[in-house]
Amino acid sequence: MSSTIREADLGAGPSKITPLPARTAANAPAPQAHGIARNPGMKLDLGFMESVRSVNRSALERRVASLTKRRSIKADNQAAWLLRAVACMDLTTLNSNDTDERVRRLCAKAVNPFRRDIVEGLGISGEKIRPAAVCVYHPFVATAVEALRGTGTHVAAVSTAFPHGLTPLSTRLQEIEASVRDGADEIDVVIPRGLVFGAKWQELYNEIVSMRAACGEAHLKVILGTGDLATLRNVMLASMVAMMAGADFIKTSTGKESVNATLPVGLAMVRAIRAYYEETGYLIGFKPAGGISTAKASLDWLVLIKEELGRRWLEPDLFRFGASSLLTDIERQLEHHLTGHYSANHRHAMA
């Protein structure tokens, strides 16, 4: 494991009192949201994994408990941060009763998330602030691609026997290929959690490598199903394997586990991302998903990212919320910000 800390897009030459690059990164202006080098992956390095396996749950819990109390975002900043949450959103529908029409409605919402008066009131009409992607099951990829054509909104598909991942690998790879063929440019895959319990790291690594190959140009988000993984150590190790195998993003949950995205899990994963970055120089994205439904919760996550990874990660190419009802709560908060009135769900267009 390398002992130096590298930071995105910033070189720090040695000087007498050496300011570390991370500080600057924390406060740096937003870099361009595109053009990061895609993670090529690396060979499975069990030694590297060993060096990051110490994850102390109670310390992580204390960190997140104090983190959300250490930072408070008020007034116009709060509105701006909530807009950021929307821009970093994979607006999602993953229900067994989804239909094409339902998906089209979701896409319409993704393209046009806010009421006109809110856009004008906030003074953001000059910039398209809207969810980065729409996330659907494979059968609805084509529908979503059609609905979103020309908008720049990505289409993500959950494509490997979601949410359990327990079909033959060949089946899962074919599913990925089919989704890519239908136009999905982001593929959210799940790992078979049993491989983690069995410490079958090589097998897990190989599966993800082949998934990445199946993705082609589409970006690969690897869902760990952290609610199933039992320990934060498993979360850390599975994160490392996923990144070494070439994940572009690592993602917490399917939303179907009994425990979804929690801040301690998120902390373990962003620290994995940091360790991978320090080791390889590649920036990996992070996507918490499941159970994040309030504006307040979204702010906690943004604070976590800013504190642990820095400003650079608060861009849609490196951070996404997997969410369905979060958008409406944010709309209500934004309306409240403008009017001082607490809002109601029915005052905002449903997805």
């Binding site: 002992s3 701006a80 953001i124």
Partner: protein, 788 residues
């Protein structure tokens, strides 16, 4: 900045806590009458200023208590004492509960006032100081009611004088007042001059919470008021939290007064990071350890010890993290580090950092924004610090971290203990075997495993070594406000320098030379002088070595290097003590005859003293593996192991009355708990001790566990008191010897226990048991958070 610009910037921006309520509170009060004495608000002769450290602006001119005011406060406390101490535990519990709840109802006002007055970030006062203070009152309500059951034979010590520092004004007040009230004591408390405000609000809470008048007296003032409390004859106990320097002054001032004393002083706590630690979490631990409250924390983890293999990576992580600390207004919710409490403190910290750099430390500070006014100091990381560097030695009391590396576990422990202090330590390792191997070896009253600065009312807090003595919180803390009846008798008269007996007793036994017993061997005294020992009839019974300071030096060295005894299992110690009893029993007739010969005791009485001595050895042999620590349960997912550890090297000045039983009654509990002992036996009847050498030699006692130096008690007590490698000293001698031992103990603040010149009825059942065992142990609280 418009919202779109903010959307791109993603900065936190200011998040100010409103201070209007606090300002209204300040405006509505006449602080020239801020002495809360006997339930009334009184003016002092003068006033002093308290100001806002973030701006230097004056907050209030506060009445300054003089000696007469202290006198009035002690009188009020004395007057209130009988009724309060006699009130039922239930009624005191109701009062403590009411205080806690009333504080809860005014939490935010307390927090804002604390931040305004002290400069600590509102996040800390709001989330840590105030909730913990409340927790102390509610927790101690339970102790008030449980007193009779849990502390049988104990009662409150009486009127208590309490002096607290400025770093945690309200929390330290709670730590002091809650246990005192629970124990049935009445208090005179003096807050620090820098931070008087929350104590005034607390007094108002007392007025409204049914605290009887005079039970809580709060006197604002400076060193003069503090000295008046310390020296007041109407005060039965002093509890002090503050600098080691002032602590030593108080130790000296109270010497011989009979006042109970607890001192919670400075620290230079080690923060030990092993290579298998969760490094990112350890970095956060440091943030809570040294950058909490601007580093103005007595138990701040100010010495980072990091294993060589990970040092470079870890330091890099620390620097990155430091760069994200936000230094700013205490009332901004996004502030991590506020101003230091006062310009004098800022100057002191700057001076120490400059001196540390001069001595070779590389002092690094992150390039973070600093407010233009106020007493701010950047978080500072000192690397290349040698153990001799001032930053490794001195308590900085500021946001300054000194870093050293270690090669292996042994060296980590050695470095951690390489300090005069012993307040706290943090150990970071994911290996529970390693962490629990290291924790008991650290000379610190509190050890946090994979955590730092965790506090709770149920867990004792307090130091080893020059970090003071006594514990605050938990069961162990309650004892500081309680006293058990000791069977004290008449005053002990100083040993007269009488005429030496010359005429030998009759008989044709072979001449015996009684030497000293040091390091398991009988050795001649360094000075090669002897002391004649008289029989009851004034004849020469024999001669013993006249021990000198050099013999004490050798005995302490032997006691210090003896590891076989403190590290033996309690069961093993138990068996050795039983064996001592067995072997003494085998020679009971001989010892009884010696007692009669020397003291003139009747044969039956002499026999009884020997039998009782054997019984006492049996008693302590039996409890050696039973006087155990506890497991505290703080409101967190953690267990706190309150371990009973030996005090260390304990000096014992044994009494003349009951020369065998007195000696055994003191040495046996010390040994039972794993201490090594340097005993000075009765000056008049030392042959009882020298006769014991062979018993000891036959009983498998490891060399150095018991050392006996015969000679002049008063002189040798003085040598022990001034010996800075002696951890405890128990003196049962005349009043002057006792007082001097207390006064002379300030060199290393050893724990001194005396009979204040009174003799003890050693045959009494109260001259044995827990009261003695408690003196023989330090309570170390090891916090072990868990969860996987």
């Amino acid at each position: 900045m418009n919202i779109l610009e903010r959307y791109h910037a993603m900065e936190y921006g200011p998040a100010p806590e409103a201070r209007s309520e606090a300002d209204a509170w300040l405006a509505a009060r006449d602080f020239s009458k801020a002495l809360f004495i006997g339930g009334e608000w009184k003016a002092g002769g003068k006033t002093f200023d308290t100001s806002d450290p973030s701006s230097g602006k004056l907050l209030a001119k506060v009445s300054d208590a003089g000696a007469a005011d202290i006198d009035a406060a002690v009188s009020a406390a004395t007057k209130a004492l009988p009724r309060w101490s006699a009130s039922s535990g239930y009624s005191r519990a109701k009062v403590l509960y009411a205080i806690g709840r009333a504080m809860q109802r005014h939490q935010r006002l307390f927090a804002v006032l604390e931040s305004i007055d002290n400069g600590k970030p509102i996040r800390e006062s709001r989330d840590i100081d105030v909730p913990l203070a409340i927790r102390h009152f509610i927790h101690h309500a339970g102790w008030a009611q449980a007193l009779d059951k849990d502390f049988p034979g104990h009662k409150g010590v009486g009127v208590v004088g309490q002096i607290i520092p400025w770093n945690f004004p309200l929390l330290m007040l709670a730590w002091k007042i809650a246990p005192a009230l629970a124990a049935g004591c009445t208090v005179v408390l003096k807050p620090a001059e820098f931070t008087p405000l929350t104590a005034i609000l607390f007094a108002e809470i007392c007025e409204r919470s049914g605290v009887p008048k005079g039970v809580v007296n709060i006197v604002q003032g400076g060193p003069e008021a503090g000295a008046a409390i310390v020296n007041h004859p109407g005060v039965q106990k002093i509890a002090f939290t503050g600098s080691s320097e002032v602590g030593k002054i108080i130790r000296k001032a109270t010497a011989g007064s009979g006042k109970k004393l607890s001192l919670e002083l400075g620290g230079k706590s080690a923060f030990v990071v092993f290579e298998d630690a969760d490094l990112d979490s350890a970095v956060e631990g440091l943030v809570d350890g040294i950058w909490f409250n601007q580093g103005q924390v007595c138990c701040a983890g100010s010495r980072l010890l990091v294993q060589e293999g990970i040092a470079e990576a870890f330091i890099a992580k620390v620097k990155t993290r430091m760069s994200r600390l936000r230094v700013g207004s205490p009332l901004d919710k996004n502030t991590d580090i506020g101003p230091l409490v006062d310009s004098t403190q800022l100057d002191r910290v700057k001076g120490l950092v400059a001196e540390g750099a001069k001595q070779g430390a590389v002092c690094w500070q992150p390039d973070v924004a600093l407010p233009s006014s106020g007493y701010y100091h950047l978080p500072t990381l000192a690397t290349g610090v040698s153990p001799a560097n001032i930053l490794a030695q001195e308590e900085v009391f500021g946001p300054v971290l000194a870093t050293m590396t270690f090669r292996n576990t042994e060296e980590a422990i050695e470095l951690a203990n390489n300090t005069r202090y012993g307040l706290a330590a943090s150990v970071w390792s994911e290996n529970v075997n390693l962490a629990l191997h290291v924790a008991p070896q650290l000379k610190a009253g509190v050890v946090w495993v994979n955590g730092t600065n965790m506090f709770d009312a149920a867990c004792g807090f307090g130091g080893y070594r020059e970090s003071g003595f006594g514990r605050e919180g938990g069961r162990e803390g309650m004892f500081e406000y309680l006293s058990a009846r000791l069977p004290l008798g008449p005053a002990i008269k100083p040993v007269p320098a009488g005429a030496q007996p010359v005429e030998q007793t009759e008989g044709d036994a072979i001449d015996r030379t009684a030497k000293l017993f040091i390091g398991g061997k009988q050795v001649r005294p360094d000075g090669n002088y002897s002391l004649a020992v008289a029989t009851a009839k004034g004849k020469l019974a024999g001669e013993v070595g006249l021990g000198s300071r050099k013999d004490i030096r050798d005995a302490v060295a032997a006691a210090r290097v003896c590891k076989g005894w403190p590290e033996a299992t309690a069961y093993n110690r138990s068996q050795v003590l039983y064996y001592l009893a067995e072997n003494l029993s085998g020679r009971a007739d001989e010892f009884a005859a010696r007692l009669s010969q020397l003291t003139g005791a009747a044969a039956k009485a002499a026999r009884e003293e020997v039998e009782l001595s054997i019984e006492r050895l049996f008693l302590y042999a039996g409890v050696a593996d039973k006087f155990e620590g506890r497991v505290h349960q703080p409101p967190a997912r953690a267990v706190t192991l309150a371990l009973h550890e030996p005090v260390g090297v304990v000096g014992i000045i044994a009494p003349d009355n009951a020369p065998l039983l007195g000696l055994i009654s003191l040495v046996a509990p010390a040994l039972a708990m794993g201490n090594t002992v340097v005993a000075v036996p009765s000056e008049r009847y030392p042959l009882l001790a020298t006769d014991l050498y062979q018993v000891i030699e036959y009983s498998d006692v490891p060399a150095g566990a018991i050392n006996i130096v015969t000679g002049r008690s008063a002189e040798l007590a003085g040598v022990l008191a001034k010996h800075d490698d002696v951890d405890g000293l128990w003196v049962f001698a005349d009043a002057e010897t006792c007082a001097r031992a207390e006064a002379d103990s300030v060199g290393n603040l050893k724990r001194v226990w005396t009979g204040n010149g009174r003799s003890l009825d050693w045959a009494s059942i109260e001259a044995a048991g827990d009261a003695f065992l408690r003196r023989a142990v330090e309570v170390k609280n090891v916090w072990v958070p868990y969860g996987d």
